[in-house]
């Protein structure tokens, strides 16, 4: 039995974000962004805190993040663009979620850095929240999580497949 990873990769959680959340260094910056999103879905915020660069780690408002993990329903992650330059990287990504009966999404550009082989979050260059146009997703439309899978095979149905 496998569990599809919430990050939308269409991989098993146990080989996708699971090990990274458990402490294995993320092999790529994209894998780190995916695992940080999945950590919100799984209420595993130690991972998010640990993967802040040391100089911004104390800026992490964990109390606020803990509330957010409980209150929001996570709808999906979409990685839009990854620009790597040596040990630094910029990632543009969209997070979709539901809050107070509203479908919303944030589009962010964040900076990352690799320290001793570990990718770490450094800053957010921009982040905008937008109400998500509520369109009914048909069973055969692509899933809104950005995985490219049909809705009925992805977030639209139970994530467990045999």
């Amino acid at each position: 039995m496998m569990t599809l990873c919430p990050c939308g990769s269409i991989h098993d959680y146990e080989v996708c974000c699971g090990p990274i959340i458990a402490g294995t260094p993320a092999p790529t910056v994209e894998a780190l962004v995916r695992s940080r999103y999945t950590a919100f879905v799984k209420c595993a915020l130690d991972h998010v805190e640990r993967t802040h660069a040391p100089e911004v780690r104390d800026d992490f408002n964990r109390a606020d993040a803990e509330r957010v993990t409980q209150q929001y329903e996570w709808r999906g992650l979409e990685i839009r663009r990854v620009t790597e330059t040596g040990d630094t990287a910029k990632v543009e990504f969209v997070v979709r979620f539901r809050r107070e009966q509203q479908e919303l999404s944030t589009i962010s550009v964040s900076g990352f850095r690799r320290d001793h082989g570990q990718w770490l979050y450094v800053n957010t260059e921009s982040s905008q929240i937008a109400p998500q146009r509520v369109t009914k997703i048909g069973r055969n439309d692509p899933c809104s999580c950005g995985s490219g899978k049909k809705a009925k095979k992805c977030c639209g149905v139970a994530l467990e497949v045999k």
Partner: protein, 269 residues
């Protein structure tokens, strides 16, 4: 303009309702009494209080070389219809000897320049302040007559300005929505404000006392969440109390254990 002004409080209690701006020190000293939030108000250039607001708060640079002056005020976060929890049944302040400096300075307001203070002596609708010539002279020659409380509150505001600026920098960096919200609020004819959480302030300022303050806030927030439940007019207050209760739950436990989000459950009603 240089007319002498008279003022006497008749203890009607009407100014003890709703949001109560506090100094940081008064806010933390009353963490077991008031639900605490941070109220942000933005002023456009050209506004009369711009300079003082920029001195006591911060400034925010927008596109097209525009700038806003922003005041960040630790606040007893109460709906307009709610009396201050320290207001007694006899309309007297039950903590008179220790009341916040905001209350001691009333009706003056050191967030504004001294020369504009006369305007604040006009009682608001429903307030029973005596401003007749029978009342003592409180303002003369553009100056406050008995000025100790005013000076003390102003001094406290000046001293805490660097901390608030640090908080503002933090929020502008990590909560870009706030910039948009303040810009929008400042363009309204009626001054509107934005509210942020105690947890963000404690994080931004690395407050070592966060756990203790959180434990004091928990019963207060729980109480106000209960009292505002089910009233559509108070929905925003209710939601904030509940959100902050969750955040304070986490902070109150953080040092004791390493809780996960599953531990911080808010009463649901």
């Amino acid at each position: 303009m240089s007319a002498t002004r008279h003022f006497q409080c008749t203890i009607c209690g009407q100014c003890c309702y709703g949001l109560l701006p506090l100094t940081c020190k008064d806010a933390f000293a009353n963490a077991a009494r008031f639900p605490l939030g941070f109220v942000w108000t933005a002023l456009r250039q050209g506004s009369k209080d711009y300079a003082m607001t920029a001195t006591l708060g911060t400034t925010l640079t927008l596109a097209h070389r525009k700038e806003l002056a922003v005041m960040i005020t630790p606040t007893a976060y109460l709906p307009k219809s709610f009396p201050c929890p320290a207001l007694g049944d006899d309309n007297r302040c039950s903590i008179h000897l220790n009341k916040p400096s905001r209350c001691r300075t009333m009706p003056f307001y050191p967030y504004r320049d001294e020369r504009y203070q006369a305007e604040l002596l006009k009682p608001r609708l429903g307030w029973a302040c005596d401003t007749s010539t029978a009342a003592p002279v409180v303002f003369k020659d553009h100056q406050i007559v008995l000025r100790d409380d005013f000076d003390q509150e102003r001094q406290a505001l000046l001293e805490q300005a660097p901390v608030l600026r640090r908080y503002a920098d933090y929020m502008f960096k990590y909560s870009p929505w706030l910039v948009g919200a303040l810009t929008q609020a400042s363009s309204q004819t009626k001054t509107r404000s934005v509210v942020t959480s105690l947890s963000s302030f404690l994080t931004a300022t690395r407050n070592a006392d966060a756990g203790r303050l959180a434990r004091l806030q928990l019963p207060v927030l729980n109480d106000y969440a209960t009292r505002t439940g089910g009233d559509a007019q108070l929905a925003e207050f209710h939601q904030n109390y509940r959100n902050w209760f969750q955040e304070m739950t986490y902070l109150s436990q953080r040092l004791d254990a390493s809780p996960t989000c599953a531990d911080a459950s808010v009463r649901s009603d």
